[in-house]
Each structure stands twice: as C-alpha cells, then as structure tokens.
C-alpha cells in the first residue's frame, strides 16, 4: 500500500547542504508492521515525516524520490508530488496516515479536553454530527482500554497518567480512521509494565482494524515482538531489511550484528557488554563510501571507504547494503 523509493532528504543549513537521509527504499503491506530501528540521528523519524510531508521549510526531497500510497478508496497518491497546502494533503494527514509520538503531551493541546480534540478530529475526517462523534470517541477510548470512558472523555490531558495519555493519543490517532499508522517511539518513555500493555493493545487493534503500521524504535526487543518486517537504519540509509525473525536470527550486516550484540539481556548476566566501537559520525561529516566503514570491524580497505555499496539480496525477501556480500567484496577480502 505504501512504496518508498530512493527517498533522499536534504537540509540547507548554515554549514551548507546536509543530507541526513539518502536513498531509502521500503514498502509497507496492508495489515503488516514494518519496524524501523536505528540509533538517534539515523534518520528514522525524518524519513517517516516525509511520508506526511511534515518536513520543515529548509528541506528538499531529491528529484529521484518516489513515494506512492494507495488510499482507502483505491486511488494512488503520489505523495512526493503533492503541493504543500493542497487539499489532498489534508485528507492524507490523519485520515489516511495517522501518527503517534513518544511524548503524548506534544500531540494534545493542554487547553482542550481529550474529548473535545477527538470530536474535532472525527467530525473533520468522518463528516458526522457532534453527538455521533462523541459516541464514536467514547467507543474509541473504550477500545484502547481506558476504563470509565464516558467520564474520562471530559478530562484534560494533564489529568491522565502517562500510560492513559498514551492510550488516549492512540485513540485520537485512530479516531480519524487511518489505514496506516506511523508510531514514532510510542513506548520509549513508558515503564516496562505499561509498555507491555500498550504493545499488546497495538497488536490487538491492528488485528481488529486491519491497519498497517510503521513502528519506529531503537529497542530491538520491541521490534522482535511487534514487527513483521524490519529495516535497520544507519546514518540515513537502510543497511539491512527483511522479515524480523530472519534478520534477528541471522543478521547479515556488521552493524546489525553489532547492535544485536550490544543489547543487554535479563536472561544472561555478562561481565561486559560489547558496544559497537566508535561514535556515530555527525551528518555534516558523512564518511565516504559505506557510511558504516569507520566503525566496521570487517572493513575492506580501498573498497568500503571509496564506493557506496548497492543494495543486494542475499536471499529472497532480504536486502543488505554491504560489500561483504558481493563478489568484489569477497574477492577483495
């Protein structure tokens, strides 16, 4: 339902043109969940903001970028070509693609009640009357597991606890009836017990509503539990993607391997953890060639630091961007 090809985003800054996202391609199928993992600054949030055309004014999409989205009525929308401010865009945001964030207070206005904001959304996107919208809002709050919804609907966001607020935000995003939900680190700020509740809720809702999801997180544990497919991002490129189980079981890219090794576990007590060596380079000093070569333990000198590897498919449904999986790389190594 959503295909992204060659997404590159550049920003004009005081230090010149920087390109934090380069040549990102992925697709999301109906009713499935794509997980986007990566460290902070890897471009995962910016890439999804581009899908909603929510990028700031000093940014540009490259001419090769193609974003195709099949709407609920079957029409294809070329998101990359939509003009800012167009009516189609307003329908797309919320009605077709919903978004939830890490910080629920950021998506609620503190001066209106939860119900007020939900009713506004429902009326705008569904074209129903006030009373009907209120009933739908109560039903939605009930569905996300907020007890006593008819009373809670008239509360202000600050009156709800952290977990409740997160649920209310999910209800708000879902009340517009999106076919694709972008969840940007929705459980990162929550306690483990509440995180488990929210993950379960999102899984159930997805099954009931047949909605597709893009789930952004840096927690591979969460990805393992919720995503069907996963894409690992590093410095604005997808270095590896494929079915979650395969990628976690047999990671191909050295970065994915490093990330998986760095995760602390409660099932095993280690003396030491194994971090990926080095720091993530700043986007203004993007390394030449493969962006990961400065930290890679298996770097092939003369190849990895010169040429950007193409995405290749070592097995069906898998894709990896690494010289080690190509003929040239193997012979050079």
């Amino acid at each position: 339902m959503l295909t992204v090809e060659n997404l590159s985003i550049s920003f004009r800054t005081d230090e010149g043109l920087i390109t934090p996202v380069q040549g990102v391609s992925f697709s999301v199928e109906k009713g499935k969940t794509l997980g986007l993992v990566g460290e902070s600054g890897s471009g995962k949030s910016i890439s999804t903001k581009a899908l909603m055309r929510l990028l700031p004014g000093n940014s540009t999409l490259s001419p090769e970028t193609r974003i195709r989205y099949t709407a609920k009525d079957g029409r294809e929308i070329k998101i990359d070509e939509v003009k800012p401010g167009a009516r189609a865009l307003r329908k797309l945001r919320g009605g077709e693609i919903g978004m939830i964030f890490q910080e629920p207070m950021a998506s609620f206005s503190p001066v209106y009640t939860v119900g007020n904001q939900m009713i506004e959304t429902i009326r705008l996107h569904r074209g129903v009357g006030k009373r009907e919208a209120r009933e739908m809002a109560i039903e939605m709050l009930d569905k996300v597991g907020i007890s006593n919804a008819p009373e809670r609907i008239d509360q202000y966001p600050h009156e709800l606890s952290g977990g409740m607020r997160q649920r209310a935000m999910i209800a708000l995003a879902l009340s517009a009836g999106p076919a694709l939900l972008i969840a940007d680190e929705p459980t990162t700020a929550l306690d483990v017990t509440i995180q488990a509740q929210v993950l379960e809720l999102m899984r159930d809702l997805q099954r009931d509503l047949g909605m597709a999801m893009i789930f952004i997180t840096h927690d591979l544990g969460v990805i393992a539990q919720i995503a069907d497919e996963v894409a690992v991002m590093y410095l604005g490129t997808i270095v590896e993607r494929g079915p979650t189980r395969d990628v976690i079981r047999s990671p191909r890219h050295p970065y994915t391997q490093g990330l998986l090794k760095a995760i602390p576990s409660v099932d095993k007590l280690h003396d030491r953890l194994s971090p990926v060596p080095g720091d993530i380079p700043s986007p203004t000093e993007r390394p030449s060639g493969c962006p990961f070569h400065t930290r890679c333990s298996e770097v092939v000198p003369g190849l990895c630091d010169r040429t950007i590897p193409d995405e290749i498919s070592p097995s069906p449904a898998r894709a990896v961007r690494c010289w080690l999986h190509t003929e040239e790389g193997r012979s050079a190594a």
Binding site: T193, A196, Q225, V266
Partner: protein, 364 residues
C-alpha cells in the same frame, strides 16, 4: 568488592507535604514518597534500584545524598579512614585538603541524616550524582575543564590551579576524554561524550559513593553498553560504590552486584543480582521481568497482566501496597502489611507468601 558496609540506610522515610488550597483554609496531606526503607551498600559495590516511575527510587538516591532532607530514619556513612592513599596520591599540594579529610575520617561512622549544612558540604565531595539527561545537566557556558573542576572548587577541597588541572586531566583520561576536549564547550559533544563528562565530574573528587540516576537511559544501546563498561572499569580502578537507579532491568542486570525492587515507596525485594533475576520471590519482581520484550522472536512474549496502574502514593492501598494489582493476592494481603524479612542469606523480600512462590527462570 570487599565486605565493609559503606552506607547503611535504616528506616528511611521521606514525606512531602501536599497543600490543597481551599478558599479560606488549606488542607495538608502527606505524600509518603519513601516509606520505611532499610538496606546497605558495601564499599566498591553496585546496588541497582529498579521500579516504575513514581515508585520513589530517585527520592531514595537524593535522600542518601541529602539533596532532599529525609523526614525520618537514618543514613549512616561509614568512613573509617581506609582510603589514605587518596591523600597520598596528590602529595604535598593537598595538605590542606588532607586536614579536611582527616577531620572527616576521625569521625568513624557519620550520620548524614542529621548533619548541618557546613559539615554536609565537606561530605559532598565523598558522594556524587550522575543525572539522566546529559544535555541539561551541563552548563553550556562553561568549558569542559571548568565543568569537571567545579566540584573541587565548590567543596573547597582544592584551591591550587595546577593541582586542579592535574586532577581534571587525570579523571578526563580515565573517562576516555582527550585533552583537547577540555577546552571545548558542551554543545560540541554527542550524548555519549556528554555522559562521560558528567561521569568525570562526578568522580573528580574521588568519591566513595556515586548515585547514577537513570544515567544510561537516554542513550542508544551501543553507547549505553560503552558507558556501562566504563562505569564498571572506573569502579574497579577507584573502588567507588554506585547506587544505579534505572527503570530498564536489563541494564541493571549487567551493572549491579545486588538489586532492589521498589514499589510505591517501599522495597519489595532485595537480593544478589543472580538470585533476583533467576529466582525472584516477589510477584511484582516476577511481573516486571515478564514484561521485558526480548530481542528473540522465538521467545513467547507473554507478560503478566498487571491490572491498572501504579497507585498514587497519596492514597496507597492498605496492607501490602501491591495487592491491588497482584495476580496472587489473598485476603490477608489487603489487611496486613508484609514484613521486610530475609528468606535466604542476603535475600530480602516483603511478601506474606514468598515461600510458596517459585518464579525461577532458566539461564540461557
């Protein structure tokens, strides 16, 4: 790690008065953020403290440092002059400082919970704190050198500029910051580097005890692993004890020698790491462990459903505070508060039925 107790916390209690203003009067209620908590921390040991937000873990850390005044109980800091090498290491220049320290050492054990502000300041150099957010805890207008040197100056511990410089360079090196970094301002650093600056600042006065409050929570996994390793190395080199507060159990598991679990202002379980993670006795610990999603698609994710949310400490449930969400709650749980007792050597738990539960998990 040796067996001497460094910090002894006895029946610690912190209450915050909550004023509710009415038209002509006001009502004061007591919020018991920490209620009757007792435990100890040994020299050179890391004690992990976990719990959901609002459970009072930060308040425990702050109360030990006297950043918040406890309303009851005792915090005893055992200084029996063991670290004489501390004074020797710096040689002549530190004679002044040594006098201070001698004064401190001669005390033997010290009751921090009832100490006046002047004396407390002296003690602060023996204790320290690393915060969660490495962005907001560094002054953007100070150079890294000045940031790291500040505890030395603020405590009046060192006055000689060259001596301070030498000390700052030494600790910066140990925290893997290079000398060129010291002249720069915090904005030039990444999150991981900033956290290393915070750690250097916390350790520059060679404290015996440092509270790390969610110090790695905001970092990416890879940087998190690096900081955890760094803290472990520094602990080995300097013999410092850590109170490692975090809500992420897997980091605590890697970092700590012993772990305490907190729920609504009370400790529910305290045991050596291996025991707590693989043979927990309290249903809450068990529920917390089951809620962590594992990065293994073949492990069935089946968290124990805790009904509702963590109760408001203003009206904490009667009896055992966990009874309102405990899947194993019985009649007695809502009536009697369970006693804090040692059910196995060094394994403390507050649950009436701890003996009946066996939540052992397999090692992998």
């Amino acid at each position: 790690m040796n067996q001497d107790v460094l910090i002894e916390v006895k029946n610690l209690e912190v209450r915050f008065p909550i004023r509710k203003k009415k038209l002509f009067s006001s009502e004061v209620r007591q919020l018991r953020a920490v209620d009757d908590v007792s435990f100890n921390i040994k020299r050179g040991e890391t004690v992990g403290l976990v719990g959901e937000s609002g459970s009072g873990k930060t308040t425990v850390g702050r109360a030990i440092l006297r950043a918040i005044d406890p309303t009851g109980g005792e915090v005893i800091f055992h200084t029996d002059g063991q670290d004489t090498d501390l004074a020797q290491a710096e040689g002549e220049e530190l004679r002044k400082f040594r006098q201070h320290m001698n004064m401190v050492f001669s005390e033997g054990s010290v009751k921090l919970s009832s100490m006046g502000p002047d004396r407390l300041r002296l003690f602060r150099s023996k204790m320290s704190l690393v915060f969660q957010d490495p962005y907001s805890s560094l002054n953007p207008r100070m150079t890294v050198r000045d940031i790291i040197a500040e505890p030395l100056i603020a405590s009046g511990m060192m006055k000689d500029r060259d001596a301070i410089d030498a000390r700052v360079r030494d600790i910066a090196g140990r925290c893997k910051l290079n000398l060129e970094h010291l002249r720069r301002f915090p904005h030039a650093f990444s999150g991981g580097q900033r956290q290393r600056i915070c750690i250097a600042r916390a350790l520059v006065s060679r404290p015996d005890f440092v509270v790390c409050d969610e110090s790695v929570s905001a970092l990416d996994v890879s940087i998190q692993a690096e900081i955890v390793n760094l803290l472990k190395d520094l602990q080995e080199e300097m013999g410092v004890a850590f109170l490692f507060i975090a809500h992420d159990l897997s980091v605590v598991a890697q970092m700590s020698h012993r772990v305490a679990v907190m729920y609504v202002g009370k400790f529910v379980e305290y045991a050596p790491t291996e025991r707590l993670f693989f043979h927990p006795r309290h249903p809450y610990t068990h529920a917390l462990l089951s809620a962590i999603p594992q990065a293994d698609p073949d492990v069935e994710f089946d968290p124990i459903r805790l009904e509702g949310e963590i109760p408001n400490p203003l009206n904490a449930p009667s009896g055992c505070r966990f009874h309102s969400r405990c899947p194993f709650a019985r009649e007695r749980c809502s009536a009697d508060a369970p006693e804090w007792r040692e059910i196995a050597p060094d394994h403390h738990v507050a649950c009436h039925f701890a003996e009946e539960f066996d939540f052992s998990r397999p090692h992998s």
